[in-house]
Amino acid sequence: MLEQVFTSTKLLPGYYNTNAMYLRFMKTWRALYYTFLNAAGTDTSLYKLLHDASTFKMSNNVKPGTWILGLAGGGVGTYGDSSPAEYVDKVFPVDEFTGFPLRQKGVSYSGTVLNWRSLVDLERDYAMTPYNGNVLRASKLSDGSVAWDFTHNLGGSQNTQYVHWVRDGQGVILQSDTGKVLFFNYLTQEVLLQTAVDPFLLAAYDSANQVIVTINTDLLVRVYAITPLPDHFIGPTLSPASPYQYGHADLSVQLVGDQGEPCAGWWIHWNLTNNKGALEKIVSQTGEDGIATNYYFCPTDAGDIGAETVSVEVAV
């Protein structure tokens, strides 16, 4: 679970409607692109949304038939515009000032390779769309063919997953009902980090500040830093497991979150329960892999030979 660092005190305008709300980070705005349908179902308003839940209404009416998706590079795109007819079946980046589609920059796509959960990399001709709960499918925009499938096994339904851009070649899948978060490399289809936030209605990755921003049905904005909170230790382990008198051994322990994600940068406090032998350090810091190391010196006095227990603690 990632650390929640902010909850807004303001409420978002609008109302809870899962079918007509979109949230994307727009890098040129350094803010979020947020839309919702009014209660009458006639008007989809476009807002610039700040992290503190301040909003600016950019337009009363996002063009009917326009759907929102994410673009590599931190932009927002639209697709499926129904009028004028010459623009159907194209993906359009939106204008950096108005948030409206720049339709002269439309890129055609083939087939049903994308939807409002997709991340599109126009340069690499990829539309990355949740295919089912366990697979993300990248299709070629140009001809609709499958470029690759990425099996992540997040589970659940593809209709609960959104794909957002992180940095060049990297994306993140955000799953609304479980709050699962999966960072991945879409060039190599490798998992980089699996973690979680609280379940949400909408979420976006802020690629400028490296945080996840969510909106839930309470219409509050929450911000999560990409710092997994510790949940449990794996270990400590001793190598060799049974060192001899006068000997020594490597100690290590891994600190992980509830999704098994490594927790980096935390200070681990080491203790010997029976005071047999000695530790090199009483604290050491976890690395990027969540592992902290230490060194155990075996007893030199024959009277101290016996079982010893190493305990570790971390202040959360």
Partner: protein, 393 residues
């Protein structure tokens, strides 16, 4: 406020007078010329009333071709056409110019259909004036005599039907405005109907080449204004204003007028080419009690003014000993970024942690960062941000 105001003139009671006591003769609608009667028509379908506003550099004045209601005692339901000419400094009428154009009070030399079918009239390059007419009259955009709105013989014109990528929707409804730059042979046409775009062509006198489009994020477009050989402005529903770099086909600036309210009918805009400022004629409904004109003439610098400094939001783990950036945004009322701008930052005393600097600067998107160093012991600090916006800055 989102644009920097320079001054605000109004209510412009001199825009029209009530002649209930003047007893206008029914035969020639209104005499004497400048004591004409009544008000702008409330219009129907947006064709009538006060619908155009442009700066005419030859006279250094704002021109308002308009359609007026006749006083009911003269001709119930009747209307007449004419010009109002306003001084760009005072907003007062320049009656000597109005008279020289023979524009008021009765039917001027031009056809009333010229007025009724004119969707847009704007000054372009070389101080020439161009109109866009509805399909009933013509699908062309052409140069006109600003005093009559009659086409000038041998003047510049184009049949929009020859333009590549000209939207079919505009053929039926007509676009809402056009900017003609004869100097560089550019044409920009703006229309809300279905398309909601401003489209740009170059080489329009030869073989027109479609350059692209900028989006117009509003249901209704009220007016466009030519600034120079690079930029024009668009006024939209909701008081939104957009500055467009038509040579590079990109939106340059997006903002909103202050104090937009339900009594506003339209925001007509003109670029004062001599003084380099945006003039906005805010057409409001008449005072419901007195019937007095409530229109105002407003002048703005074409730059944004800060309206909101957002609360600082941490973007790193809130832990003892951590270096924690807090982000903020400084924006105008339409969300336009205000940057670069210096923000003062301070911690309430006594503070446990420390700020790396007491100042921060808004940058891309109006966002800035305040750097905070948390103390090594657990505690709580309160961060205060402040932006000082001085009037007239």
């Amino acid at each position: 406020m989102a644009l920097w105001p320079i001054k605000n003139i109004g209510p412009m009671t001199w825009l029209y007078g009530r002649c209930d006591t003047n007893g206008c003769p029914a035969t020639d609608m209104c005499t004497p010329p400048l004591e004409y009667c009544d008000r702008f028509t409330t219009g129907f379908g947006g064709w009538r009333g006060l619908i155009n506003f442009f700066y005419y550099p030859t006279y250094d004045c704002f021109f308002i071709p308009a359609v007026f209601d006749c006083h009911p005692s003269i001709s119930a339901g009747g209307y007449f056409i004419g010009y109002l000419v306003l001084d760009p400094e005072t907003g007062q009428r320049r009656t000597e110019i109005e008279q020289s154009l023979a524009a008021l009070p009765s039917v001027i030399s031009g056809s009333i259909w010229n007025f009724l079918s004119t969707k847009s009239v704007e000054a372009g390059s070389y101080g020439k004036v161009f109109v866009v007419r509805t399909f009933i009259f013509s699908t062309s955009i052409f140069e006109v005599d600003p005093g009559s709105l009659e086409a000038i013989d041998g003047g510049w014109s184009i049949d929009t039907g020859t333009l590549p990528n000209y939207p079919s929707e505009w053929v039926v409804d007509g676009p809402d405005g056009a900017i003609v730059n004869i100097t560089d042979d550019y044409l920009a046409i703006v229309g809300a109907s279905m398309v909601r775009e401003g489209r740009v062509w170059k080489n329009v006198s030869g073989t027109p080449e479609y350059l692209g489009a900028v989006p117009v994020p509003a249901d209704a477009i009220y007016d466009v204004a030519y600034e120079n050989e690079q930029y024009f402005w668009v006024s939209m529903a909701g008081g939104y204003l957009m500055k467009v770099d038509y040579k590079n086909v990109r939106v340059e600036f997006f903002s909103q007028l202050p104090d937009v309210d339900a009594d506003d009918r339209r925001y007509l805009i003109a670029w004062d080419q001599l003084r380099g400022r945006l003039a906005v004629l805010r057409q409001k409904t008449d005072d419901p009690t007195t019937g007095a004109c409530r229109c105002t003439l407003e002048f703005y610098r074409p730059i944004g003014k800060a309206a909101l400094l957002s609360d600082p939001v941490p973007v790193n783990s809130l832990r003892a000993g951590k270096h924690i950036p807090f982000i903020f945004h400084l924006l105008g009322t339409a969300g336009e970024p205000i940057a670069p701008y210096t923000i003062q930052a301070a911690l309430d005393t006594p503070a446990k942690g420390a700020l790396l600097s007491g100042f921060a600067r808004s940058g891309v998107g109006g966002m800035g960062t305040v750097e905070y160093q948390a103390s090594m012991v657990t505690g709580q600090d309160t961060l205060q941000l402040q932006a000082t916006i001085a009037d007239g800055e």
